[in-house]
Symmetry: C2
Subunit: 342 residues, 2 copies
């Protein structure tokens, strides 16, 4: 910056004002300074800016997953990609961290806060009794909780923390759409192979399924929770199909379990969709790659990430904390669902 000031024949502060679009310099000076800066390929040192109270220009994202479940999530990279579209436009960096569990995640937040490494964070996988919002609130670290913290599916009247927004997914409505679709085909016995029991969205889906089943008079409907792995997905499928009143349709909370489940059906001599309909919650290349191609709920992970990042940017800019609804996932009907036999 000294260089620029010298070459442009102005003071350092003039350079700072010019480059940051602040009033206090003439248009002509601003242009000249800009030109010199571009010529030199100059970019403000993030460290220096941060030290002068401008914030770290960085957003944090922690993924807490046991190593085993990692890489199964087709959702995640697309979600991050959406986040980046927004952040990079604003020259914000994304500090990314993979940890083993919630406790370590909280430690990471504390560390980032103490080191002033991030200006805000995006929180994923909200849980029942989640300790993270309260922690972030106490640290005063702006955050966007992705997935919504509510359990019963009702939108909140107001955001409970001053700098924590949430981007809510209407799992209840989505589950309703799936169940109604299956009921419309004639299915009465439906099993839901859910994900981790501690997650808020798992609870929401289970509750919604139960409510829908009651409303539509489908008593044979139930949910079982898993760890999202192909092993537990297969096992749950095996148990369900081996029961006395086997389901004619199964809803899986992710794509890998859906594929595993379809495989188990095949192994047991059943044909998809003739003997068993399969729905995957989460569309991906995987759902299109298998044979038959899987009917799936498509969430547009990229748009989702974009939305979350935009909300965090708004929060960092002093915007109010909000509880934002997301567009409902769309059911993409493919070849794995049909009317039950008989």
């Amino acid at each position: 910056m000294k260089d620029i000031a010298r070459r442009a024949g102005v003071s350092e502060s003039a350079v700072s004002f010019a480059l940051n679009d602040r009033p206090g310099v003439s248009e002509a000076t601003r242009r000249r300074v800009r030109q010199v800066a571009d010529q030199l390929g100059w970019r403000a040192s993030t460290a220096a800016r941060a030290l002068s109270g401008e914030g770290a220009a960085t957003v944090g994202l922690v993924l807490a997953r046991p190593a085993r479940t990692l890489g199964v999530e087709s959702f995640f990279l697309q979600f991050v990609s959406g986040i980046q579209e927004v952040l990079s436009e604003r020259h914000l960096g994304l500090l990314f961290r993979v940890v083993a569990g919630a406790e370590e995640e909280c430690a990471v937040y504390r560390g980032w806060w103490a080191e002033q490494r991030v200006d805000g964070v995006i929180v994923v996988d909200p849980q029942i009794g989640d300790p993270r919002p309260a922690l972030l609130d106490s640290l005063g670290l702006p955050a966007v909780v992705v997935g919504g913290r509510d359990v019963n599916g009702e939108p909140r009247a107001a955001a409970p923390y001053p700098v924590i927004s949430s981007v809510r997914v209407d799992d209840a409505a989505a589950m309703g759409a799936v169940v109604e679709y299956l009921a419309g085909l004639g299915h009465r016995r439906v099993v839901h192979v859910a994900g981790l029991p501690g997650l808020a969205h798992t609870t929401r889906r289970i509750a919604s399924l139960r409510a829908c089943a009651a409303r539509l008079g489908m008593p044979g409907v139930r949910s079982v929770t898993t760890d999202y792995s192909e092993g537990q997905g297969a096992e749950a499928t095996r148990l369900a199909l081996a029961g006395t009143e086997p389901p004619t349709a199964i809803i899986y909370d992710n794509d890998v379990m859906a594929v595993a489940g379809a495989g188990v059906a095949l192994e047991m001599g059943l044909t998809v969709p003739r003997d068993l309909s399969v729905v995957a919650w989460e569309d991906s290349a995987l759902c299109r790659a298998t044979h038959p191609r899987l009917t799936a709920l498509d969430r547009d992970a990229t748009a989702f990430g974009r939305r979350a990042a935009e909300e965090l940017v708004s929060l960092l800019g002093g915007g109010p904390a909000r509880d934002l609804p997301q567009p409902m996932p769309q059911l993409v009907v493919r070849d794995s669902t049909a009317a039950p036999r008989g």
Copy 2:
């Protein structure tokens, strides 16, 4: 830090020395300072350290993929997870970026360098005529290239750049192992559905396949390149199987294409592995979830990430640039491969 100095009754510099394990303070003082710092939950501001010439304490990682291919890669999250194990131990952050292509990736490196945001980077997906090593070298940004830059599979005599190491995968040997395994089962007509033609490892695998086929006297062997998508994987399979001399085995460069290919075979009335053997290059939950479960090459992505990060840390510490070999991928034989009929 001022606070700590006051409470411990020493000067700020003493605090700095004590906390950074530098000589210049007595053991007693060091202990006292440490205690006060812990009490206050103090952590050095990364920005301030960076500004004092300590580096950004951050490592960069750019993933250049078209949005469409994103999320297909089970490899990536595990790789990142391995990187993190090493970085977090050393209190290094990971700045992560997803971009659309190589040009944008280079722009990101320039920006990071100018803003002094990272101390080094990990480079993935080395390409033929890759512009990145030269760029990073000119910027003086330490880097580890993951996958190796060589095309012909020969280890390099020396690292060509002073601060760029590479972690090399022996694709040639791995391909050799797969081909020999298939040849041992009796396969003569093998098709390799490869990934993007510009990538170094694609070229290495194709070259190795050709060499092996020549050595083993398998003239009907060939490679076709794709964009890694399930669509192109399926299409390549369809074309291959519809030909006059259809292959009895297909090697796919990723897991999603392997699944798609197996689906196409099924659709065409073929049974895997009776009529067609399928091998996936990259093991994942996916390979275990499908039915039949896929024989796959397992690379241990986590260990790979760990290795890359360790090498970058060594480079940042002033270590020499090296060309490191990685353990060869292991062939995990499952249910998708068998002797050809007849």
